[in-house]
C-alpha cells in the first residue's frame, strides 16, 4: 500500500512541476506573446473580448501590475477548469476543443504502436538472450541502426516507397476524408488503414531499444541460481525461459518504461508532422509555426499529463508483476 501511495504522491509532485514550468516558461523568456495573440485575433476578425485577453494573460504572463502569485493562482484555476483561451490558428475554436478532437488520434496511434513495439521487442529480446550466440542474437547489434534512424527520415522514406512508389498506403492524413467520422465499420477500417505507416515508423524505431534491454537482462538472469535450480528440476526449456528467466528479465524494462515513453512521444510528434496526422503532435507544430502560444501551452500540458498518467499506470501494474513491491514498498 505504501508503494502505491508513494507513487501517487510522486506523480502529483511531477504534475505540479509540469504545470508550474508551463507557467514560468513564457514569463521567463523574451517577447510579448499576449500582444502577438491579440493582434492575430484581430486580423482574423475576432473581437478581443476581455475574458479571452484575461485567459491569455494568465497563461502567458503580461506587463500588468498584477502580482506573480495572483497570476499563478488564477492560472491554476484556469488549468483546472480547462480554460486555455481561444486558438488563433484554428480560429475561433477554443483550445480545449482543439485538444479534445486531436488527442484521441494520438493516444490511439502511440498507444497501439507502443504496445506492438513492446511486445515485439520483448519477445525477440527474450529469445535472443536465451539462445545466446544464436542467429537472432547475432543480429542484435544491427538493431542499433534502426534505433539511430531519425523518426521523420524513416517516415518519409516509408511514404516514398510504400505510399508514392508502390501505392499500397495513403500518403498522409488519418482517415478517408470522404467518410464521416464516427464509430462505424468503414470509418474505423479507414483509420486503421491510414495508421499503418505512422505506426510502422514508431514500431521500427522503438522496438530495437526494448529488444536490446530485454536481451541484456536475459543474459544476466540466465546466470542466476534460480534458473540453475529450474534446470536441475528437469523443467522443459520453454518453461524455464518464460517463467524463470523472462519473468524476471522484464522487470527492469517495465520499471524503465518512463524513459522509453518519452522517446516514443518525441518521435511520434515528428512522425505526425510528416503524415499530417490529425493528432496532437501536428497541432503542436501548427501552433508553434503560427505563434499560437495558447494552443501550444495547452498541448504541452495535456501531453505531459497523458504521459504522467501512462507512467502512473505502468507503475501500478509493476506492483502486479513484482511481488516484492506489494509487501515491502
Amino acid at each position: 500500500m505504501r508503494y502505491y501511495l508513494r507513487k501517487l504522491a510522486f506523480y502529483l509532485v511531477a504534475l505540479w512541476a509540469a504545470v508550474t514550468l508551463n507557467f514560468l516558461i513564457p514569463r521567463m523568456l523574451p517577447g510579448n506573446p499576449v500582444d502577438i495573440l491579440m493582434a492575430k485575433l484581430q486580423q482574423r476578425g475576432g473581437s478581443p473580448d476581455p475574458a479571452t485577453r484575461r485567459a491569455y494573460e494568465l497563461l502567458l504572463g503580461t506587463d500588468t501590475h498584477e502580482s506573480l502569485v495572483h497570476q499563478y493562482l488564477g492560472y491554476l484555476g484556469n488549468m483546472a477548469t480547462g480554460e486555455f483561451g481561444i486558438s488563433v490558428s484554428d480560429f475561433p475554436t477554443p483550445v480545449s476543443t482543439v485538444i479534445a478532437t486531436s488527442l484521441p488520434w494520438t493516444m490511439a496511434l502511440v498507444g497501439l504502436a507502443t504496445l506492438i513495439s513492446v511486445l515485439v521487442g520483448t519477445v525477440l529480446g527474450v529469445v535472443a538472450g536465451w539462445r545466446r550466440g544464436g542467429w537472432l542474437d547475432s543480429l542484435v547489434p544491427a538493431t542499433t541502426v534502426l534505433a539511430a534512424v531519425p523518426y521523420f527520415w524513416l517516415a518519409l522514406l516509408l511514404v516514398a516507397v510504400f505510399g508514392a512508389a508502390l501505392g499500397w498506403f495513403p500518403l498522409l492524413g488519418g482517415y478517408d476524408v470522404t467518410l464521416n467520422p464516427g464509430w462505424d465499420g468503414p470509418f474505423l477500417r479507414s483509420a486503421l488503414y491510414y495508421g499503418v505507416l505512422p505506426a510502422t515508423t514508431i514500431v521500427i524505431s522503438s522496438a530495437g531499444g526494448w529488444l536490446l534491454g530485454t536481451r541484456n537482462m536475459m543474459v544476466s538472469v540466465a546466470a542466476e541460481d534460480y534458473v540453475l535450480t529450474a534446470r536441475a528440476k528437469g523443467l522443459r526449456n520453454s518453461r524455464i525461459m518464460i517463467f524463470y528467466a523472462a519473468r524476471n528479465a522484464v522487470l527492469p524494462t517495465v520499471a524503465g518504461f518512463a524513459i522509453s515513453l518519452g522517446f516514443v512521444v518525441a518521435g511520434s510528434i515528428v512522425t505526425e508532422q510528416v503524415f499530417a496526422y490529425p493528432g496532437i503532435g501536428s497541432k503542436l507544430l501548427q501552433a508553434v509555426q503560427s505563434n499560437d502560444y495558447a494552443l501550444m501551452q495547452g498541448i504541452f500540458l495535456i501531453i505531459t499529463v497523458t504521459v504522467l498518467g501512462a507512467n502512473l499506470l505502468v507503475d501500478l501494474l509493476y506492483g502486479l508483476v513484482d511481488p516484492r513491491i506489494r509487501t515491502s514498498g
Binding site: A232, L251, V270
Partner: protein
C-alpha cells in the same frame, strides 16, 4: 551462479585501468571505425569539399563526377553541404553530451554521496525531469526564444537541460552501491575530504558507466537536434544534418526523386548513432562481464555416444569414473581431473575441499548442469537404478536427461537466497516439479503433495502461498529440501546447503535431513568446506584438492589415520575443542578461479 559473479556484475571491485579498457571485439572495431571515419569527415571534410553555399544553375542534378552526390534544388553541392552538416551535428552532439553529463554527475553522484535531504531533493528532481516528456518541452522553449537568439549554444543548453535526468538516475544507483564499499568507507573514516573521496575513490569506478551515459547523450542529442531542425526550430544560421533534411523536405526532394539529397544526411545520422551504440556495447561488457561474448560450443545438453557401463559394486547408486571437466577459456582451467567416486545406496558421502577446488564443478557435471565454457573432457557418470538398470548419464538425450533430473537425482544449492525464483510463490515452484514429472496428477493432488512436502521439513503448509522474500533464509533452505524430496529421488546432492545460515539453523536443518534420510533411504553427496561438520554426519569422506580426489575413506578412518598430507593439513586448520588454534590454511599456489564463479 555464485556470489562472485554477482559481485563482478555490480561494478568493478576497484579501479584498475586494465579492467576499464574495452575488450577488443568485432563490435568495438566496427563501432570505433565508423566513429573515427565520421570524425575525420567532420573535421577535415569541409577543407576538402567546395563552397556549400555556392549556387549554380544546375538544380537537382543526379550524382556525377563533378558532383559526387549531385546537387540541391538551387544547384548547391550536396557533398559539400554534407561535410559542413556532419561537423555541425557532431559539434552539437558533443556539446550536449558534455553538458548533460556534467549535470547528471552533479545531481546523480554528488547528491547521492552527500546523502540525506540533498539526495532526496536531487533524486526527486531527476525523477520529475525524467517523466516530463522532453521534446514537447524543448519545442515549447524553442518557440518562445526568438529566432535571432537561437544559437547553437542555446539549443545545446535546452537539449542538455531536458536530457540529463535518465543518466543521473543510473549514476545515483551506482554511487549508492559504491558508497558503502569497504575502501570508500575506509577513506572516509581516514578523514579524506569529501571531494577527494568522490574524485579518487568513486569517480574512477564510475568511468565505464559515465562513458556509456555520455555516448548515449550524444546519440540522443544528435537525433533530437535533427528533429528540431527538421521542424524549423533548430539553431539559427547553423548547418546540421537536421537543417539539411529540412531543406530537402521543403524542396520536395523525395517527391522529385532527388534521393541523393535526402538519403545521405539520414544515413550519416544512422551511421553515427550505430557506431556510438556499438562502442557502448563494448563499454557495457566492462560494467557487466556476463554480457561478454562466449565462444559457442557444444552445449552440455547434447549427449555423447553411449559407452558400455560396468557395475563395480552391487550396492552402488552412482559411479563416477575418470571424470574430467575443463573450462575452455584462453588459458584452459582443469577444474576436475580424473575423478573416480562411488556413492552407495543410502550412504552419506562427504566431499570436502577449500573454495575453488572444483567440488561444485564436479557436482554440476554429474547432473550435466555445467555450462559453457565448462566441458566434460573425459570419464563416465553411471546411475544404477533401484530396478537394476544402469544409466549412462552423459549419453542421455535432452528429453531423457530432463526426466532423469530431479526424479532420480535432486540438488540443494548453496545460497538459500537466490535458488528460489523471486516472482513465483512457493506453491508454484513446488508444483511445477510435479506438473513436469508427474503429468497425470490432478491439481488438487498436486497441491496436497506440495503441502505434505512442506510439513515433512517442518514448514507450515500455509506458507505455500508465500513468496521467497517473505521467508527467512533457513525457511527458504527447508523449502528447497522439500522440493528436492518431492519425487523421492534416489540421490540428493547438497552443495554447501547451510553455508549462509547461522549455526543453530544449520544444525536444525541438518538434523532434519538425517532423519529424512533414515526414513526415505536416499543417498547423499554432501559438499562443503566445513570438514568437522562433514566428519560428524558423513559415512565416508572424499578430500578434493585442485580438481583431484586426494583421499577417499570412511569418516572414522579420516579422523584417526589421515593418510594424505593435505588431509592432515585440512584437519589441522580447524580449531579443536581442546583450545588449540588451527593454522590458517592456504594452498601454496592458489588455483585461478574458473571464469563464471567459484564452481
Amino acid at each position: 551462479m555464485t556470489n562472485l559473479s554477482t559481485e563482478l556484475a555490480a561494478a568493478p571491485l576497484r579501479a584498475d585501468w586494465r579492467n576499464m579498457l574495452p575488450r577488443r571485439s568485432p563490435k568495438l572495431v566496427v563501432g570505433a571505425g565508423i566513429i573515427a571515419t565520421m570524425t575525420l569527415w567532420a573535421v577535415a571534410g569541409p577543407a576538402v569539399v567546395g563552397d556549400p553555399e555556392a549556387i549554380r544553375d544546375i538544380g537537382l542534378t543526379a550524382p556525377s563526377t563533378a558532383h559526387l552526390l549531385g546537387t540541391t534544388q538551387t544547384g548547391q553541392d550536396v557533398l559539400a553541404q554534407l561535410a559542413y552538416a556532419t561537423r555541425g551535428s557532431l559539434y552539437i552532439g558533443i556539446l550536449v553530451g558534455v553538458m548533460a553529463t556534467l549535470l547528471s554527475v552533479l545531481f546523480g553522484i554528488v547528491g547521492s554521496y552527500v546523502g540525506g535531504l540533498v539526495d532526496e531533493a536531487f533524486s526527486l528532481l531527476s525523477n520529475v525531469f525524467l517523466v516530463i516528456p522532453g521534446l514537447p518541452l524543448v519545442i515549447v522553449i524553442s518557440a518562445f526564444v526568438p529566432v535571432q537568439a537561437r544559437g547553437s549554444w542555446t539549443i545545446a543548453a535546452v537539449l542538455a537541460v531536458t536530457g540529463w535526468a535518465g543518466s543521473a538516475r543510473v549514476l545515483r544507483a551506482q554511487t549508492l552501491s559504491l558508497r558503502s564499499r569497504d575502501y570508500v568507507l575506509a577513506s572516509r573514516v581516514a578523514g579524506e575530504r569529501p571531494w577527494r573521496v568522490v574524485a579518487v575513490e568513486i569517480l574512477p569506478n564510475l568511468l565505464p558507466v559515465l562513458a556509456t551515459q555520455f555516448v548515449f547523450a550524444i546519440i540522443a542529442a544528435i537525433l533530437s537536434e535533427a528533429g528540431l531542425s527538421f521542424l524549423g526550430l533548430g539553431a539559427a544560421n547553423s548547418a546540421t544534418l537536421g537543417t539539411m533534411l529540412s531543406y530537402a523536405q521543403n524542396g520536395f526532394a523525395l517527391q522529385r526523386g532527388a534521393w541523393w539529397w535526402f538519403v545521405p544526411p539520414g544515413v550519416i545520422i544512422a551511421l553515427v548513432g550505430c557506431g556510438l551504440a556499438l562502442i557502448n556495447f563494448s563499454i557495457d561488457e566492462i560494467i557487466n562481464p556476463r554480457l561478454r561474448d562466449i565462444p559457442r560450443r557444444r552445449t552440455a545438453d547434447q549427449p555423447r555416444p553411449a559407452r558400455p557401463v560396468t557395475r563395480t559394486d552391487d550396492d552402488a547408486v552412482l559411479t563416477v569414473q575418470g571424470l574430467s571437466v575443463t573450462y575452455r577459456t584462453t588459458q584452459p582451467v582443469h577444474a576436475v581431473r580424473d575423478v573416480t567416486l562411488t556413492l552407495h545406496r543410502g550412504e552419506i558421502l562427504g566431499l570436502a575441499g577449500e573454495s575453488g577446488c572444483g567440488k561444485t564443478t564436479l557436482a554440476y557435471a554429474i547432473n550435466r548442469l555445467h555450462r559453457p565454457p565448462a566441458e566434460i573432457t573425459a570419464g563416465t557418470v553411471t546411475f544404477h537404478d533401484r530396478g537394476g538398470e544402469d544409466v549412462d548419464v552423459l549419453a542421455l538425450d535432452p528429453r531423457e536427461l530432463r526426466a532423469f533430473r530431479w526424479s532420480q537425482l535432486a540438488m540443494v544449492f548453496q545460497g538459500a537466497m537466490n535458488a528460489l525464483n523471486p516472482v513465483l510463490t512457493v506453491r508454484a515452484q513446488l508444483a511445477d516439479v510435479l506438473t513436469t514429472h508427474r503429468p497425470g496428477l490432478s491439481r488438487r493432488e498436486r497441491h496436497r503433495r506440495c503441502g505434505e512436502a512442506l510439513s515433512l521439513v517442518g514448514v507450515d503448509p500455509r506458507r505455500l502461498n508465500a513468496y521467497p522474500h517473505e521467508l527467512s533464509g533457513g525457511m527458504r533452505q527447508r523449502v528447497m529440501i522439500a522440493m528436492a524430496l518431492l519425487l523421492e529421488p534416489q540421490i540428493v546432492i547438497l552443495d554447501e546447503p547451510t553455508t549462509a545460515l547461522d549455526v543453530l539453523v544449520q544444525r536444525g536443518i541438518l538434523r532434519e535431513l538425517l532423519r529424512l534420510r533414515d526414513r526415505l533411504r536416499f543417498a547423499v553427496l554432501f559438499i562443503t568446506h566445513d570438514l568437522p561438520l562433514l566428519l560428524e554426519v558423513a559415512d565416508r569422506v572424499a578430500i578434493m584438492r585442485d580438481g583431484s580426489i586426494v583421499e577417499d575413506a570412511p569418516s572414522d578412518q579420516i579422523i584417526a589415520r589421515p593418510r594424505h598430507p593435505y588431509t592432515r593439513q585440512l584437519l589441522g586448520s580447524f580449531p579443536s575443542l581442546t583450545g588449540e588454534r588451527g593454522d590458517f590454511l592456504r594452498s601454496p599456489e592458489p588455483e585461478p578461479a574458473p571464469p563464471g564463479g567459484a564452481r
